[in-house]
């Protein structure tokens, strides 16, 4: 071995070193991401529990079962509801804040930025519990609304489907707007100030500059934050679990939460069925990421 190594040419040595450097990370990704997703697909075609699983007949058994499962359909509706309402509001707010903070005449920029960015420092479980406590029936928000005379009796925010969903959306916007803002701030810093000067000379007003100069130049960043947000929302778990426990009556449960319950909740563990639902989430994430990349392709 020693002789062989000495016999290697310099170029070969470099080639070997290059491969050696990326091997551990590559192996881990294959074992921890690619192997399990293939495994999930195979399991999704099977029926039965524990070691006694057999391929289902028809193979699509678990997939057809999903669309007859009222709770799963509910969880899908909920997840997409969060997605459609929360992501656009959050991204628009994040761009707006970044644009405002990018003004060179603005004072206390750093302070504002730190404050708005701060929610990112809390864990998803932490802020879920904070919002759960704030919006409790005997909680701060109810007390304040009562003192202001806006309500005559306490609202059971988390016990009513509509308001429970609203609280989750508010919480999500609170937690993630600053996070996305940071991406836009980084993107805006790459735009030369002279571009704005030119727009001003051409007579563009504030909104026009924003719409025709800033937004097109930020397009790659917008696409990326959209992909990340969609990806994150489709996998929403901590908030559903800790803020509302999916309730009332599954009206706020997310797909990930339901899949978790099916896999690890009491008395269940139908791995084939669970895997089929999980694989569907994977397909959704992949399709949405693909659409997003196509839409945002800057080479057009």
């Amino acid at each position: 071995m020693e002789n062989r190594r000495k016999g290697m040419t310099l170029a070969n040595k470099q080639l070997a070193a290059g491969w050696a450097f990326l091997t551990p990370a590559t192996i881990l990704i294959f074992i921890m991401s690619f192997y399990p997703i293939i495994q999930a697909f195979i399991t999704s075609l099977k029926k039965g529990k524990g070691v006694n699983t057999v391929f289902a007949d028809p193979l699509t058994y678990n997939y057809t079962r999903m669309f007859q499962d009222g709770i799963f359909i509910q969880s899908m509706k909920n997840t997409f509801f969060y997605l459609i309402i929360e992501v656009p509001i959050m991204l628009v707010l994040a761009i707006l804040l970044a644009q405002l903070l990018n003004n060179k005449d603005l004072k206390f920029k750093g302070l504002f930025r730190t404050c708005i960015f701060l929610p990112c420092a809390t864990s998803l479980v932490s802020y879920s519990i904070i919002f759960k406590s704030m919006f409790a029936t005997q909680g701060l928000v109810n007390t304040v609304l009562m003192k202001m005379g806006l309500i005559s009796e306490n609202i059971n925010f988390l016990g009513t489907p509509g308001t429970a969903k609203a609280v989750i959306i508010i919480a999500l916007i609170w937690r993630w707007t600053g996070y996305n803002m940071v991406f836009y701030l980084a993107g805006l810093q790459n735009i030369e100030y002279s571009v704005y000067e030119a727009a001003k000379i051409d007579g563009a007003t504030g909104w026009k500059t924003f719409w025709y100069v800033t937004v097109p130049l930020l397009k790659p960043t917008i696409v990326m934050t959209a992909i990340m947000s969609i990806n994150g929302t489709l996998q929403l778990f901590d908030e559903s679990m800790n803020l509302t426990s999916g309730g009332p009556a599954n009206s706020t449960i997310t797909m990930s939460h339901y899949i978790y319950n099916q896999a690890f909740g009491q008395g269940v563990g139908a791995l084939g069925y669970t895997s089929a639902m999980a694989f569907l989430v994977f397909i959704m994430v992949a399709i949405l990421a693909f659409i997003n990349l196509k839409v945002g392709d800057t080479r057009d």
């Binding site: 990370a25 990704i29 991401s33 399990p36 903070l101 504002f112 929610p119 996070y179």
Partner: protein
């Protein structure tokens, strides 16, 4: 610019200031409230008190006894898991990013493209097969169970790869002529000059590991192996909730990441936007 002009500019910015102040207050308030609530009785918290109280020590006593008295072990576990994961991530992903960028050829670029596909694989889709795998090799409730799926991520590899571009290949050639082996170039030359990117990646990796919830919940089946987010989730799972104690628990869980945030905010911002360049 004249003084008059300046004050006019500032005057025009008044709506902007008002909007930013409102947004800042909304952002900070829940965290302020968490701290205030940690010092109050449950009853006062429910009544909407937002001033500081004198119940901190009593809440702390209750918290110590919550969930079979696992506060300290949960904190310790979280520190251990997050630190170990961060060290492994930094080492393995920087090595890969360095390899992909500075030794790149057609095959490695293609492999990198494949690795990026892993970004599309959601945690919930791999959770069950990975649980089966981890339990088969008898690693449940161990630090390895926690870190293995999180060590190597496309995001981190990409971040190191992008940032390896500023490492000049000439230096490597010079080192090779001096007879330095390839691995020594990485350790002795690459690592020291990439300190800032290691800091950014380290902050983001530690925060992610500290805040992880779904995966630890799956593999840490024993209370003694649970993490801080699991601990606070367990406190609130009962029917009656002691708000003061709960908020103190949430504070314990948030304090380390908040301290990191305040000290290393720049690195944190660089970390999350790291692979975008």
């Amino acid at each position: 610019m004249t003084k008059k002009n300046k004050s006019m500019v500032q005057r025009r910015l008044i709506p902007t200031y008002i909007f930013l102040i409102i947004c800042s207050l909304i952002s900070v308030f829940p965290l302020y409230w968490m701290i205030a609530a940690a010092t109050n009785t449950s009853l006062n918290v429910a009544r909407g008190s937002i001033a500081f109280g004198n119940q901190l020590l009593i809440n702390f006593e209750h918290l110590k006894n919550a969930v079979q008295g696992t506060l300290w072990s949960s904190l310790g576990n979280s520190f251990l898991y997050a630190t170990v994961q961060t060290i492994f991530t930094l080492f393995i992903c920087s090595l890969a990013g360095y390899g992909f960028e500075l030794y790149h050829d057609k095959h490695k670029d293609r492999l990198f493209g494949i690795i990026l596909l892993a970004m599309m694989v959601p945690a919930v889709a791999t959770m069950v097969p990975l649980f089966v795998l981890i339990s088969k090799v008898k690693l449940l409730n161990s630090v390895w169970a926690f870190i293995l799926p999180g060590i190597s991520t496309p995001f981190m590899i990409m971040m190191f790869r992008q940032n390896s571009r500023n490492f000049p290949p000439d230096i490597m050639e010079a080192a090779r002529i001096d007879g330095l082996p390839e691995w020594k170039i990485f350790f002795k030359m690459y690592m020291p000059v990439q300190k800032s990117i290691y800091a950014a990646a380290g902050v983001i990796s530690f925060m992610n590991a500290w805040n992880a919830y779904l995966w630890p919940k799956v593999v840490m089946t024993d209370n003694r192996a649970q993490t801080m987010p699991m601990f606070i989730a367990n406190i609130t799972s009962g029917y009656t909730v002691d708000y003061g104690m709960t908020m103190l628990g949430v504070l314990f869980c948030s304090l380390p990441t908040m301290i990191i945030f305040f000290i290393l905010q720049k690195q944190f911002a660089e970390g999350i936007t790291g692979s975008v360049k």
